[in-house]
């Protein structure tokens, strides 16, 4: 009995430590953003008890660099929303094709592995041709170039996730509609899509988060008008040393949307990341 309670205490201790470890940077960013400049460098961790929180940093940030941040947010939102939408539409179609049809010359399995292999392409390896191609197209510092880059980079992911979701929808429904004389496309629209809706939302949110956090392409393809939030953060630091308070406010702005959205859909992540290797390994 006693051994059991020691074990339980150890378990709890480990779980709590892991939780603190995971949450500390968020906590630090949030509390520091509410510290006055005098308190920032002191070892103070608990608001209200150890230091008096203030809105000063947030107000300064909005007054001084509000327009740059709003521009960055606007670009981030446009690039992420559009590319995530395209990923879900085109990836959804491809995923449906791979879930429902048999391809002969290149087997379904081969096409799937081809899509999967693209997940491993390092962005840096295509950054130079991307830069030159978009320069020739006149799309440097234009959100369109980011949308294109993000869409092609994340389509493989959405295709794999959505294929798995379509696989989970019973074929019989579609077959009976096919017998009744519906066309493939209207079946897809009227029967399959509504049933797959939760999965589509999940794939959309994950693609949104991936695009929102992307940095390298935004760094090389934009410089003023099309900069996204990560580039705004990276560019601001050099102005005058390390401004703890502004780093914290901006980080919170950058971190919040994808973290909040993506924690809702974590159970769909595994498929896209591992291609069912986990489930299949039973």
């Amino acid at each position: 009995m006693k051994r059991k309670s020691i074990k339980r205490i150890l378990t709890y201790a480990f779980v709590i430590l892991a939780g603190v470890w995971a949450i500390f940077p968020f906590y630090w960013a949030l509390t520091t953003s509410f510290k006055s400049k005098v308190d920032v460098f002191k070892p103070l961790f608990i608001p209200f008890i150890q230091f008096e929180p203030t809105l000063e940093n947030w107000i300064n940030e909005a007054m001084l660099r509000g327009d740059v941040i709003i521009l960055g947010l606007r670009n981030s939102i446009i690039a992420s929303l559009t590319s995530a939408t395209l990923c879900v539409i085109l990836g959804g179609m491809a995923g449906y094709a791979l879930a429902r049809f048999r391809f002969e010359k290149w087997k379904n399995r081969d096409i799937i592995i081809w899509f999967f292999s693209l997940r491993f392409l390092p962005p840096i390896a295509v950054s130079i041709p991307f830069f030159l191609i978009f320069m020739n197209l006149g799309l440097i510092d234009n959100v369109v170039s980011l949308i294109l880059a993000y869409t092609v980079f994340f389509i493989p992911f959405s295709t794999l996730v959505l294929r798995d979701i379509f696989k989970g929808i019973p074929v019989e429904l579609e077959e009976s509609a096919l017998v009744d004389g519906c066309s493939r496309i209207s079946i897809f629209r009227r029967i399959t899509l509504p049933l797959a809706a939760p999965g589509l939302v999940a794939a959309f949110i994950i693609c949104f988060a991936l695009a929102w956090n992307e940095f390298l392409f935004a760094l090389i393809l934009t410089y003023r008008n099309a900069t996204t939030i990560p580039v705004v953060i990276a560019g601001a630091e050099h102005s005058q040393g390390v401004d703890f308070w502004y780093i914290c406010t901006r980080s919170i702005i950058a971190i919040t949307p994808p973290v909040v959205l993506a924690t809702i859909v974590q159970r769909w992540l595994v498929t896209g990341l591992t291609l069912g290797a986990v489930r299949g390994a039973r």
Binding site: F14, V15, A18, G19, A22, I23, P25, W28, A29, F41, K42, P43, M93, A94, F103, R109, I113, S117, L118, F120, L121, P122, I124, A125, V126, S127, I128, P129, F130, F131, I133, V152, I155, P156, S183, R184, N213, F215, L216, L219, I233, A234, E237, V242, F244, I247, R250, A254, I255, A262, T263, Q266, L269, V270, L273, T274, V278, R279, A281, R282
Partner: protein, 287 residues
Amino acid sequence: MSKEERAKYFFLLPAVVLILSFLIFPLIYSAYLSVTDWQIGKAPEIIGFSNYLKVFTDRRVHNALSFTLLFMVFTILIETPFALGVAVLSQLRFPGNTIFKVIFTAPFFTSPIALSYLSITIFYEEGGPLNNLLKLLFNIKIPWISNPDYAFLSLCLIDIWQWTPFLYIIFLAGLQSLPREPYEAATIDGASSFQAFRYITIPLLMPVILTGMLLKMIESLKVFDIIYALTGGGPGISTESYTMYIYKTGFRFFRLGYAASLSYILLIILMILFTVLAFRLRKVYYE
């Protein structure tokens, strides 16, 4: 072509065509670049494979490759047991279990750039929270970013914070798919929970663990954002990853041809790793 035939290509082709024109074509273009001596402000001239030969004698390539390799091995050796431990424990029922899962996976969705700049403040040497805490407890001060070894450690800590959740998600899914019977049999035979873990969970989960490690290895080779933001490859070139060196060659020194051939070497390394993975996948993924 029958109607059914047409439909299947109608669904598949848009994605494939987009990928071919905006991903595969750039790669082919980059293969051409890699055999030229193109620099900005100079017409490209085909010079054959001498870029690739230069790679073998470039000391910065050796430095970058050994940093990347060390980074990959070091992080994976810590992340794997950490993620496995947390995954096994969060299988147990305790109050707040669901909230714990959400908290522990949140780092994975955090913007690496925001995280790295936050880390600059956290690792700050004079008055950063970490050094403040260490000073309070042990009265020591650690040069987290300005010393090469500690800079390496700082980068590893960030990577561990961000990528342990990735392995955790995978291991958790693996654990949930394990059969119940061996555990029931072990309980009847009076095995302790540690013995069950050691002799049932580990062997059964091994394929999942290896796959997870392989996936993370491939991701480690792509590490860029945190290095760009936290150390910029420094102090000196001590934390310059291979990707960072490609970036500098292409976008700071403007030697596009050489950068393209460096990229191709990375692609070859990744292709080898991926082939190992694809071989495993083809076996489990039979259709």
